[in-house]
Each structure stands twice: as structure tokens, then as C-alpha cells.
């Protein structure tokens, strides 16, 4: 975390490529209003070396079905913010076809995010998270698509792994069906992005094993992989595994 702060400090700013400040500014315009406002507030604080509120806090996803829903909501927030940025600052050499498809994916993820926000009781829902895409070069096709592949494959593995953690009640069955409706779309995204990176890698052996099974990942594994892209510390220890 201190590394992140150092990277964002004024001292390091001159060393940054041009795309970073552009991306940060346009992110506020394109990301959801709440997330944008939070990002603005928090990044403003980070520039205050030694100021009171230097780092975003810990976000606890909770437990039970709400915990699983918040888990999905956190991942969808991350994906939605990422693709909003991709659409706002398209990478060099993006084709018309790629732009159209990535714009559609950005919409799907925004819809997923907004849906979870609406579906989870406000009192239990996690707040808007602050993404950290400092490791992504949004002007570079490979950097963008590689990150997208990570997010999509991670999303698929996360939903697959969390299905059995949802309660076996009538309500739980509805949640499971809803999660199923979303995960196959993430699978479609993953396949498309993978094919863009390497034609024919839509279900490569790095994600689909010899038994023909996609990944099923525990929340601990997923959150460890997602954490570098989120400024808040995500605590998913009560979701189950």
C-alpha cells in the first residue's frame, strides 16, 4: 500500500507516462458517479503527504448470501470501472470491431454492477470501491487485453467457486440462478478477450483442465488476485471457501 502511495505522490509524477493523468481524470467522468466521487476524494487525500486520511480503509464483504453477493458486487465494480476506462481512452490501434465489442462489454459490466447495487439491501451493501489501475497501460493493447483476460477469467472462477456457498433455500436458489445468468456472460467475455489476444485460446488449457472443467476459485484466491487493483483492503474471510 505504501508503494501505491509513493507511486501517486507528486514526487513521482514527473516519471509517469502521459496516459496516467489523462486516464485518471477521464475515469472520474466515465465511472459511476459514486465511485468517481469516492476516487476523487480519496486520491485528493493521498496527495496530502502525512495528512489525516491517507489510505482507504478495509471493506468487509460480510457473511452468508449477502457476503457472496457483495463479493460479486466488488468484482463487478472492478470490471465496470476497468472497461469504462478502456472505452474512455481506447488503446492505440483499436479496431472498429474491438471498440464496438469492448463498449458492449463495458455496458454489460456496468449493468451487473448497478444490478448488484440495487439488489443488495443498502444497509448490507459494500460502498463504491476505488480502483487502482496504475499497473495498466491503457494506451497499450496488450496491457489492456491481458488485464481484461485476468479479470474475466477471475470472474468466471469466482462465480464457479462461490455457487455452492450460496444458501440452499428458495432465496438462495434465486441467487444461484442469477449468478449463473451472469457467469456465462463473463465466460463469453473471457473467450472473446482471449481470442483477441491469441486466436483460438478461448478455452485454453491454462483455464480449462483436462477434464474439460473451467476454474472454480475460492474467495481467498480471487481476492488476493483482485486486491492489487483495489485501493481499499477487501476482507472476504467470512464468505466461506
Amino acid at each position: 500500500m505504501s508503494n501505491n502511495l509513493k507511486k501517486d505522490s507528486d514526487e513521482a509524477a514527473f516519471a509517469k507516462p502521459l496516459y496516467v493523468p489523462i486516464k485518471r481524470r477521464s475515469f472520474f467522468m466515465y465511472a459511476g458517479a459514486t465511485a468517481g466521487a469516492t476516487a476523487l476524494l480519496l486520491s485528493g487525500c493521498e496527495d496530502d503527504d502525512g495528512g489525516g486520511m491517507t489510505t482507504p480503509g478495509t471493506v468487509n464483504l460480510g457473511s452468508g448470501d449477502v457476503g457472496v453477493l457483495n463479493y460479486a458486487y466488488a468484482l463487478e465494480q472492478l470490471e465496470a470501472a476497468f472497461y469504462a476506462q478502456v472505452v474512455a481512452t481506447p488503446y492505440t490501434g483499436i479496431s472498429t470491431d474491438e471498440r464496438t465489442a469492448l463498449t458492449a462489454i463495458a455496458k454489460h459490466e456496468a449493468i451487473h454492477r448497478d444490478f448488484f447495487k440495487a439488489a443488495i439491501p443498502a444497509a448490507s451493501a459494500i460502498p463504491g470501491l476505488t480502483p487502482n489501475f496504475s499497473a495498466v497501460n491503457f494506451s497499450d493493447r496488450n496491457s489492456v487485453l491481458t488485464t481484461a483476460r485476468t479479470f474475466e477469467d477471475l470472474g468466471v472462477g469466482a462465480y464457479n467457486g462461490a455457487g455452492r456457498l450460496i444458501g440452499d433455500t428458495m432465496e438462495g436458489k434465486n441467487y444461484l440462478l442469477l449468478a449463473g445468468k451472469i457467469v456465462s456472460v463473463e465466460g463469453r467475455h473471457a473467450a472473446y478477450i482471449r481470442d483477441l489476444l491469441t486466436a483460438g485460446s478461448f478455452a485454453g488449457s491454462d483455464v480449462v483442465n483436462a477434464q474439460g472443467l473451467d476454474q472454480a476459485l475460492t474467495p481467498a484466491v480471487v481476492l488476493a488476485a483482485a486486491q492489487p487493483f483495489i485501493r481499499e483492503t477487501i476482507n472476504g474471510s467470512n464468505i466461506g471457501s
Binding site: G32, A101, A104, K107, H108, A110, I111, H112, D114, F115, K117, A118, A119, V156, Y159, N160, G161, G163, R164, I166, D168, K173, N174, L176, L177, L178, G180, K181, I182, V183, S184, V185, E186, G187, R188, H189, A190, A191, Y192, D195, A199, G200, F202, A203, V208, A210, Q211, G212, L213, D214, Q215, A216
Partner: protein, 288 residues
């Protein structure tokens, strides 16, 4: 072809099948009076219907029924790709990267049927003698259309059964304890990857650069059989792919605090499909 042997096999899966087949059995008996040629021509359709009755019940009673249903679909998909890769009509067009991709998909379907059969053990239903896909392999385009239909239907079929699989069903398969729900979800997302890739293949210039995306927009069938994308039964649980209502929110296009197009909302969610409708789609290709 031994019809009664098949029916008795079906009885093991579904004890009540004879009740449901009574009407059909008299139809089959009647067929005996007609010429042998006619009976042979008509029998495959009857068998397809018998399978519909066996695994197309309104609710699949237990986990074995769910798994046998999945097994039949995986066998169908596997055989579809085996036949496609061997089809002389596709030798000149199903080549290069496309052939490699279809081989990958075939291998996954093979792994799925093997895994499901192993999970079922002695409870596995007998495999149909063959699958007949008619003129599906006549052209590269028709092959891809069928592939899209089977993959998208497969995605819908798994999704439709996920809630019928107990969370805590953990059989030992090949020495490993597996959670059946998790395995079903793992297969489900692989089918979605297949569907997306087949759609990318259909979008390519070789197949005519159609206006088609890896995801399903507004429930458009893009030339595939309409029931693959239509509503199932009951409609409230299994809406058509063009559905905009989720989780009690009537329209995600207008109900989320931002306005989204029907195109994007429908594509953002895939829908489940009941087994009766799925077997209605797949049944005609099943032969005794």
C-alpha cells in the same frame, strides 16, 4: 434396433415411463402393421420422443436424473463434433485454426461425457446408438449454425438445472471427492466459452461476417432454431433470452438509475432453460 430394450432401459431411469408411453406404445404397435420400410423411417422420431419423455419430465427427480440429462447432451455435442470433423462436405472449409478450435471443443465435450458417466457409475443411462444431425454438415455455415444452437442450448440447460443440484452432493469420482454443483458450474462456463468462440467463427468473413457477437443480443437466434433462445416452461422461471427483468426489477434498462439499451441488458444476462424444452430441441437428433 431393439425398441423394447430401450424402453426397459428408460424405465430404469424413469420408473413411470410406461405410463407416459402407453399411448406411444400403441402407436409403435400400429407401426408393425405398416411396411417395414415405413416403420424404420418413422421409428427414429418415436425414439427421439421416448427420450423426451425420459429426461424431459417437468422436474428431474433426483441428482442422477439431472446428471443423465447432462450426459445425454454431452454425448450429443461430442458426437456432433466428431461427425463434423469427419464430414467430407466440411473437409475443404473446416480447416486450419477453425479445425483446431473445433477439436479443442470436441475434446472438452468428450471429457464432460466421461466425467459425468464416471460420476453416475452404474446409474449412467445407456448411450443412444447414434445421433443423426440431418443436413447439418452440408456447408460450413450450416455446421456453425448448429454448433451455436447446441452450445447456447447447453449453456441454458446447465443453468436451468443448477438449482436442482444439492449444494452438498460430493461423490467420489476417479478417487477424488467432487462437488457436483461446482462441477456443473465448471462445465457450464466452458460451454459458454465454446458458444462465444463459435459465434466469433460465425462472425468471421469465412462465414459471411454476420452481425453476431459472442453474447446473445435480444434473444436473436441468428438463423438457429428459435426455441434455443425462446422462453421455457414456466416462463416466469425460464424467460426468453431477450428478457430485461432480473431479481424483481421489472426492467434493468430503466430501473437501475442509469438508462441502458435492451440490447445491452439482454446480453448482460443469459437465461436458463427447462429440461422439457431442451430435450425438445435435442431429441430429434437422438437415434436408438
Amino acid at each position: 434396433m431393439n425398441l423394447f430394450n430401450i424402453i426397459s432401459e428408460l424405465e430404469k431411469v424413469d420408473p413411470e415411463i410406461m405410463d407416459r408411453l402407453t399411448h406411444r406404445r400403441s402407436a409403435l404397435t400400429a407401426l408393425g402393421d405398416i411396411s417395414k420400410k415405413m416403420a424404420l423411417a418413422a421409428a427414429p422420431i418415436a425414439i427421439g420422443s421416448a427420450f423426451n419423455k425420459a429426461v424431459g419430465q417437468q422436474t428431474l427427480g433426483d441428482a442422477n436424473a439431472v446428471l443423465n440429462y447432462a450426459l445425454l447432451l454431452e454425448r450429443l455435442e461430442y458426437d456432433f463434433y466428431v461427425q463434423a470433423l469427419a464430414a467430407p462436405t466440411l473437409a475443404a472449409t473446416l480447416t486450419g485454426a477453425d479445425r483446431t478450435a473445433i477439436t479443442v471443443i470436441r475434446d472438452h465435450e468428450n471429457a464432460h461425457r466421461t466425467l459425468l458417466a464416471a460420476a453416475l457409475g452404474a446409474n449412467a443411462a445407456p448411450a443412444p446408438s447414434r445421433f443423426d444431425f440431418g443436413n447439418a454438415f452440408a456447408t460450413y455455415g450450416s455446421f456453425l449454425t448448429f454448433a451455436q444452437a447446441f452450445e447456447d442450448a447447453g449453456v441454458r440447460a446447465y443453468k436451468g438445472q443448477a438449482t436442482n443440484i444439492p449444494r452438498t452432493l460430493n461423490p467420489t469420482v476417479g478417487g477424488n471427492v467432487v462437488n457436483v454443483l461446482t462441477v456443473a458450474l465448471q462445465i457450464h462456463s466452458v460451454e459458454a466459452r465454446h458458444a462465444a468462440h463459435v459465434r466469433v467463427m460465425r462472425r468471421a468473413p469465412a462465414a459471411g461476417s454476420q452481425t453476431i457477437f459472442p453474447w446473445i443480443i435480444n434473444g436473436d437466434a441468428n438463423g438457429a432454431p428459435a426455441p434455443v433462445y425462446g422462453a421455457g416452461n414456466p416462463v416466469a422461471t425460464f424467460p426468453a433470452e431477450g428478457n430485461l427483468s432480473q431479481g424483481g426489477i421489472m426492467s434493468l434498462a430503466t430501473g437501475l438509475g442509469a438508462t441502458y439499451t435492451a440490447e445491452d441488458v439482454s446480453a448482460a444476462f443469459d437465461e436458463g432453460l427447462d429440461n422439457t424444452t431442451v430435450v425438445g430441441i435435442a431429441g430429434p437428433y437422438v437415434r436408438a
